[in-house]
Amino acid sequence: MNVENRLANKKRRSQKVAFGIFSFTSYSVVALLFVILAFIVVKGIGAISWEFISEMPKNGMTEGGIFPAIIGTLCLVLASMIFAFPVGVLAAIYMNEYVKQGWPKKIIKQMTNNLAGVPSIVFGLFGMSLFVNKLGFGDSILAGGLTLGLLVLPVIIRTTEEALKAVDDTFRQASLALGASKWETTSKIVFPIAFPNIITGMILSIGRVSGETAPILFTVAAYFLPKLPTSIFDQAMALPYHLYVISTSGTNIEASRSMAYGTALILIIIVLISNLLANALRKYYGKKVKMN
């Protein structure tokens, strides 16, 4: 009896210790997130002002604002989405609505996975070689946007596929039974239902695109360019590259630290907003669909 008790005690104690460690590490990971966020918010909030987001950089990028970088990132996001969103959504529709299981689907799936695993710097090399040099776009928003578009293509395909899969099959069957064609069913029934979730995926990939640095290093990013791009063949500054430049190789690293904190904060804000927005959308429409 005594031995049994002691064994049970030991068991309980080891469980307690193990669970303690597990919960501690989980909360530590979350705490780490808050440390990073808090650090950048606290240090960066002082740098942020109307001037900071609306003016050109001055004095070797130690003063002034980051307006051209914000606009540049905006242009890149737009350019990449104009390309990647339709292609990605159409691809996902084909994969989910049109092809049955079989080797073509397997190959496309495998290739999409492989593309998702390609390191971002390799996208940069590829973009430079194909868009900048071969096709002669030069360092331009077009080249950078296409490179970034290819980078997020797998993300958009994957999220769209998830969204389409979540649409109940009875919708499709009902539509087809009424004599609608495949495309009519897809475009008028399935797509509208899945749309909110598809948009969620797009918002998340916007967050991704605006933070990527390596693919734009050699395809679009300008070190310092105190004017706004006027066409898609112009170079542009971009927020992540700007942060990299002023924190490692600016003319005066110490003097531009507060600019760097401010830029990091703006980047974080973009990512946070896109994540929160995506989550909120998902929740809102998730409820709505269930209620109907």
Partner: protein, 415 residues
């Protein structure tokens, strides 16, 4: 009457025909879109390898320059590394290179004034070619490096043949000086080592933490806690790598410098720590998913047999989800190997084979990012960086395949 019916039938026929054609067109557009990713992968492979292969087809001397020796010299051909040793004066006698017992006399264009006065060279260096020719002809032990526009028509020396860089040399060379003169040194071993050190350091740090957190989230935490924590952990994955790099630069690097009392904090360790933070969400999400896939019946059977919750976790849940956890770890390594900006900003970028975690290292992606901007388009250096991209691509491709295999094994087990 019948003709009206016929017309009607024809009309509907046309309509359905038109509809069918439209459907077909749409389907082919969709198909084309879905081929986009495959085409991209193929194009990436094509362009990377075409550009990268160039490095093995060129002599590692800048275009327009040549190396020349005295006509009587028996040495016909040298490897790039030998030339570097010669110009670094590590090799000082032709005997070591298979020639006569004769001291090596180095000559670079700028050394000309040691031999001739400015008057002798002419006001606009118009006698320069003659003088170089003369110098080479009268110095048996010379090895001269100069631009081929100074090469005379009646050149009396002999141009030295230089070996192209071989794939083996590229992979096993221990020195990375792509812009070195007279010959570029393209050994990627230090870069490969640097990449592996930093990545494995990251995984050693991140794996236990990630695993513990995954166990907590999937098996122990209440649903509400889980729903609160998981999005936060996923948020970690959304922070741009350049922000991680910046955070590492201003927090982790100085911290490491202080703790270990180092002259510089930019070390492999700093890279590993930053990468570990970045790999955590991948590891946690994937292994948590795998653990949650453990059939309820298995867990309940274990509990019914009197096992404690903890025993059930490490005797049932973890073994069952082992392949999923492995997949998460491998994918985490893949992320770490390919990560560019954060590593570039915190590891110090010294291209030497590391012997300790507390020394600066340089990874393959960081090298590409740091050097491609300065490399001339289509030049040797440019091509070498593309060859590095090929190596990176092959590694990450292999890792993806490995993950695929591991997860396939798991799904087979389920059925």
């Amino acid at each position: 009457m019948s003709s009206v019916v016929l017309l009607k039938i024809k009309h509907t026929d046309l309509k359905t025909n038109f509809k069918q054609i439209k459907e077909k067109i749409i389907e082919s557009i969709l198909m084309l879109s879905s081929a986009a990713t495959s085409i991209t992968v193929v194009l990436i492979v094509f362009f990377l390898f075409i550009e990268g292969a160039g490095v093995f087809n060129k002599k590692p001397v800048d275009k327009g320059f040549l190396l020349a020796v005295h006509d009587s010299n028996q040495v016909k051909k040298l490897e790039p590394s030998q030339i570097k040793d010669v110009f670094d004066q590590k090799i000082t006698n032709w005997k070591e290179l298979g020639g006569k017992d004769q001291a090596i006399v180095l000559f670079r264009t700028s050394d000309i004034t040691d031999y001739y006065t400015e008057e002798e060279l002419g006001e606009n260096f118009e006698y320069f070619p003659d003088k170089i020719n003369e110098l080479i002809a009268k110095t048996p032990g010379i090895i001269a490096f100069f631009s081929d526009k100074y090469k005379n028509k009646d050149f009396k020396g002999r141009e030295l043949d230089i070996d192209k860089i071989s794939v083996y040399e590229f992979l096993s060379g221990e020195e990375w000086f792509p812009t070195a003169e007279p010959v570029a040194q393209m050994g990627v071993k230090p870069l490969i080592y640097g990449t592996l050190w930093v990545s494995f350091g990251a995984i050693v740090l991140a794996l236990p933490i990630g695993l513990f957190a995954a166990i907590y989230l999937s098996e122990i935490a209440k649903k509400r806690t889980r729903n609160l924590l998981k999005p936060l952990i996923e948020l970690l994955a959304g922070i741009p790598s350049v922000v991680y790099g910046f955070f590492g630069l201003v927090i982790i690097v100085p911290l490491i410098q202080d703790i270990f009392n180092l002259p510089v904090g930019e070390t492999a360790l700093a890279g590993s720590v930053v990468l570990a933070i970045m790999a955590l969400p991948t590891i946690i999400t994937i292994s948590e998913d795998a653990m949650r896939n453990t059939p309820r019946a298995m867990k309940e059977a274990s509990l019914a047999l009197g096992a404690s919750h903890w025993q059930t976790i490490y005797k049932v849940v973890i073994p069952y989800s082992a392949s999923g956890i492995t997949a998460g770890a491998i994918l985490g390594i893949g992320r770490a190997i390919g990560e560019t900006m954060a590593v570039l900003m915190v590891t110090g970028n010294a291209a030497v084979i590391p012997h300790t975690f507390l020394a600066p290292v340089r990874t393959i992606p960081a090298t590409i990012a740091a050097e491609l901007g300065e490399a001339a388009n289509g030049g040797l250096h440019y091509e070498a960086l593309f060859a590095l991209g090929c190596i990176l691509f092959i590694i990450t491709f292999g890792i993806n395949m490995l993950v695929e295999m591991v997860t396939n094994r798991q799904s087979h087990k389920k059925h």
